[in-house]
Amino acid sequence: MIMHKDKYSDRKFIIYGFFIFVGFSFIIRLLYLQVLDNEYAYAADNNARRDITVYPPRGLIYDRNGELMVYNEAVFDLMVVPGQVKDIDEEMLCQLLEIDYEDYQKRFKKAKKFSSRKASIFEKQLSKTQTAYLQEKLYQFPGFYVQARTLRKYPSASAAHLLGYIAEVNDKELSSDCFYASGDYIGKSGIEKSYEKNLRGQKGIKKLLVDVYNREKGAFHEGQFDVPAVNGQKLYTGIDLEMQMYGELLMQNKIGAIVAIEPQTGEILAMISSPTYDPNKLVGRIRSANYSTLLVDTLKPLINRSLTSSYPPGSTFKLAQALIGQQEKVLNNNTIYTCNGGFHYGGLTVGCHPHNPNLNLQESIMISCNAYYCNVYRSVIENPIYRNSEAGYRKWREYITKLGFGVKYGIDLPYETTGNIPKPEYYDKYYGKGHWNSITTISLAIGQGEILATPLQLANLAALIANRGYYITPHLVAQVGDSTKRNALYTKKNQSGIDPRYFEVVINGMEDVVMKGTARSAFIDSISVCGKTGTAQNPHGENHSVFIAFAPKENPKIAIAVFIENSGYGGTWAAPIASLMIEKYLKGYINSARLPIEKRMLEGNLINYHAR
């Protein structure tokens, strides 16, 4: 079957033409898609990449012995990008999350309102098992993914006021710091707040490739554009966790505060405010309910009384008067004032308890004679070297301020208050200029009247006396991260302007207070404790029981102030509690002979005073 030239032979050219035409059209189309039109190239970028925020673990917090106070626990948030959600089985998702459909719609609407392209939290803090289960089903829900976050855990369930808590950022915080995104956590109180910038670390970004089924397909460009997260810095505090917990135990069923400071360093060893709460209660899903309960509690457990509440310091203040009097050279150890049941001037009487009427300075501290300190105060204010009483008062106030009263220290905790040492202008306004003097303000002599001090300030006074003349600004955190560089504020010696030699007689007097004076309940036979009681009168009922102390007498290791509201004499509650704290810290255990005291302190329920 041999073929001859046929008449349709030329049609092959038309067919060639067809082939070339189609090929040419395709190349034009390719040119348009690939070279001339950028739209598809951009679309590709959005298609394939998902930026995941990598949350760094928040910094850990340790006590002075390396005991872990706060650590992190991973939880997972279910995130949603509303724009990517399509054709999902909503009912199934509701079932997985154990929410009803209405709730689902509400959440979805909210997320969509925030942004349809950016992720928002759909369900917070899924448990590990819930997450594991959900993650398997997640491919069915494009637009949803799981984001790891960390929650705080407090193994000792203590030091709530110091550590503070973290919570979701509010709108104000969101707008003032671009670091935060909606749903992020921020320190709201305690050192979580004051060291927020160190603890939070730096967020990282992980660029992932994601396919249309919402499945992660590995790192974008092998992760070379990822920004690694930087872990939050560790905080090494000066807290002795064991003592802190012991203090909280002693303070149970009492209202008040304990502040213990290491005098040489200014590091806070313990800071207890009672009533307190378990910091684990303010974590996670249970947070908001518990927070509301704590907030409305009439005993105000959320307040850190050690530095936010101020009280009349009572007789503990006499120590300051003794130091100022000596420095002003209107007082020495041989100065004798007579007490006939109190201080009498004209019609005014400041009462005193019965005791041997003639006392020198050291004895006056041991006995805590009111009349003696009214006279000391009077001699300082009415010192003839000053023009008038106001000038004398100004000088006195200068000393008091240098002794750490009426000022904020700049401790690394929020909500520190100044207490109150009235300015001369206050009395000018109250009595009229030139119409007031030491007699009008005589109650200041014994730590009463307008004067208010925080437990922290009283503990600091004890530290200052222990240091014989200076204090280091009290602080919780000794070291931030691995750097050995210290905050200058927390290493500087704040001089009181009182000559060290004037401290000897005061310290001897404080030793006597515990040996044979008003705080014999604080006596520990193996440790020389130097202390001073206070019984602060206040308009709210029963006196506050106050005690400040340091120990040992030579080379002191601990200075402490104990403040117990409405519980009576300083020697009854505050002094024994302080001595137990000291003993626990210095010896590590309580001598068996003192166990009955410990038992009495632990069992003492003083809250009923308030109920009455």
């Binding site: 079957m1 041999i2 073929m3 008449k7 349709y8 032979s9 049609r11 092959k12 038309i14 067919i15 060639y16 067809f18 082939f19 070339i20 189609v22 090929g23 059209s25 395709f26 190349i27 189309r29 390719l30 040119l31 898609l33 690939q34 070279v35 039109d37 739209e39 598809y40 190239a41 679309a43 590709a44 970028d45 298609n47 394939a48 990449r49 399509k86 054709d87 490739l209 994601v210 396919d211 249309v212 089924y213 499945r215 397909k217 590995g218 974008f220």
Partner: protein, 422 residues
């Protein structure tokens, strides 16, 4: 022995070279499309590229077998081959396995074979046989009808399998018929009908359609005015008007009889519907993948769109996306140029045949490959509706690779023999 050596000498090495190039480039693209770091070994049989390597090996073996067979075997047994393949199509309808709504697969163990793929070369053989042995006394009309039947019967059986794409391939035989003398008007009429069909879908209301009818009337009237104004011409034009109008109104009706997904595919192509998540999704993703390749491409294995399953069917029907994304405008243009050269070469081979059988068969080969090439790449680039047919030699799949290889190598075998026919 001597015979075989002659084959090596007389075989068209250009075509074989282009074939090997395309198969290799196709395999590279499949490798890239399903690449997965856990299975990077090229012979991993759990992965598609590993399997495809196996299919390629088998395809080359099949090609060698065909080269060893006497070329007269195909011209003489064409009808028997055709008949056996028709039976296989009927068998698959009865015994086949349904995959994605199409009942077009035989399953033998873990292998699956798609008889429709092999039907193409059998039909090409049958058409060539018919025209070679045609009785000159048979009228032109009758010859056309028989030829049409040879083509339409397998297409109909494949349509019954619900594999519209593979059935449409048989339209490509129009080129063979055209070369054999079918009026060129068939293309004009075809284009006209497609054009009217598109208008019919776009003009949804009857009023709009009536405007179109008015325009047709005006055009026909003008033709009548400028041509010989005889009654016969008038009647002819009147018949055209009736046919066109009936067609115009029936398209809309026929359209509603299509499968919903097919309706949407057509609507998306005509821009009547924006459905980027549904039917338009494939094409949209595929355009993104190709577009993101830019001029030079992202490089081998660097594609983000195809590699990460954004494009469905990326290793089968949408394999060209991988080429577009990873090799850019340069690489994808090169593939198109290779295809066009390849097609031209086949027609050139067909034209140099001295046997009618080989020439017609050659045209069948060119037509089938051309149709696949046009529809597949047109679909991937969003120029044509989504019709699922593979890109010859590129797409993943044993059946299609083997079928195209058989199709091609029967021609090469015939061509190697041409010198002997004098």
């Amino acid at each position: 022995m001597r015979d075989r050596n002659l084959i090596w000498r007389d075989m068209d090495w250009i075509t074989v070279g282009l074939y090997l190039m395309m198969v290799f480039f196709g395999w590279i693209s499949i490798y890239s499309a399903v690449f997965n770091e856990d299975h990077s070994s090229i012979v991993d049989l759990s992965q598609r590229y590993g399997k495809q390597l196996l299919w390629i090996g088998a395809a080359i073996f099949i090609a060698l077998l065909i080269l060893l067979v006497d070329p007269k075997f195909f011209s003489q047994f064409a009808i028997i081959i055709y008949g056996m393949h028709l039976i296989s199509l009927i068998m698959v309808l009865l015994l086949g396995k349904e995959v994605a709504g199409s009942k077009s697969w035989f399953e033998i163990g873990s292998f699956a074979i798609q008889p429709a793929e092999f039907m193409k070369y059998a039909t090409a053989l049958a058409v060539a046989f018919y025209f070679t042995n045609i009785n000159p006394k048979v009228s032109h009309l009758r010859a056309t009808i028989i030829a049409a039947a040879i083509i339409i019967i397998p297409a109909g059986l494949i349509l019954l399998q619900n594999d519209t794409g593979s059935a449409l391939v048989y339209v490509s035989f129009i080129f063979v018929l055209y070369r054999r003398g079918l009026s060129g008007n068939i293309f004009i009429i075809g284009v006209l009908f497609i054009f009217i069909a598109i208008l019919a879908l776009l003009l949804e209301s009857t009023a709009q359609k009536m405007v179109l009818v008015g325009i047709i009337v005006a055009i026909l009237a003008a033709i009548f005015y400028f041509s010989r104004r005889t009654l016969r011409n008038g009647l002819r034009l009147g018949a055209v008007l009736v046919v066109l109008t009936a067609y115009l109104f029936s398209v809309g009706f026929a359209f509603t009889k299509l499968q919903p997904h097919q309706q949407i595919r057509i609507k998306v192509l005509l821009n009547m519907e924006q459905d980027l998540q549904g039917a338009g999704y494939n094409v949209h993703q595929s355009k993104i993948a190709i577009g993101s390749g830019r001029f030079f491409g992202k490089g081998f294995l660097q594609g983000t769109q195809t590699k990460f399953d954004f494009v469905p069917e990326q290793s089968t029907d949408f394999i060209f996306c991988t080429v577009g994304e990873e090799w850019g405008f340069l690489g994808s243009s090169l593939v198109i140029v290779i295809f066009v050269i390849f097609l031209i070469r086949i027609v050139f081979i067909a034209e140099r045949q001295r046997s009618v059988f080989a020439q017609i068969y050659g045209y069948g080969v060119a037509s089938i490959l051309f149709f696949h090439f046009t529809i597949n790449i047109g679909m991937v680039m969003g120029l044509l509706p989504v019709i699922g047919i593979p890109l010859p030699f590129f797409s993943y799949g044993g059946s299609s690779l083997w079928a195209f290889t058989i199709l091609l190598f029967i021609l090469i075998r015939q061509d190697a023999e041409r010198m002997k026919l004098l």
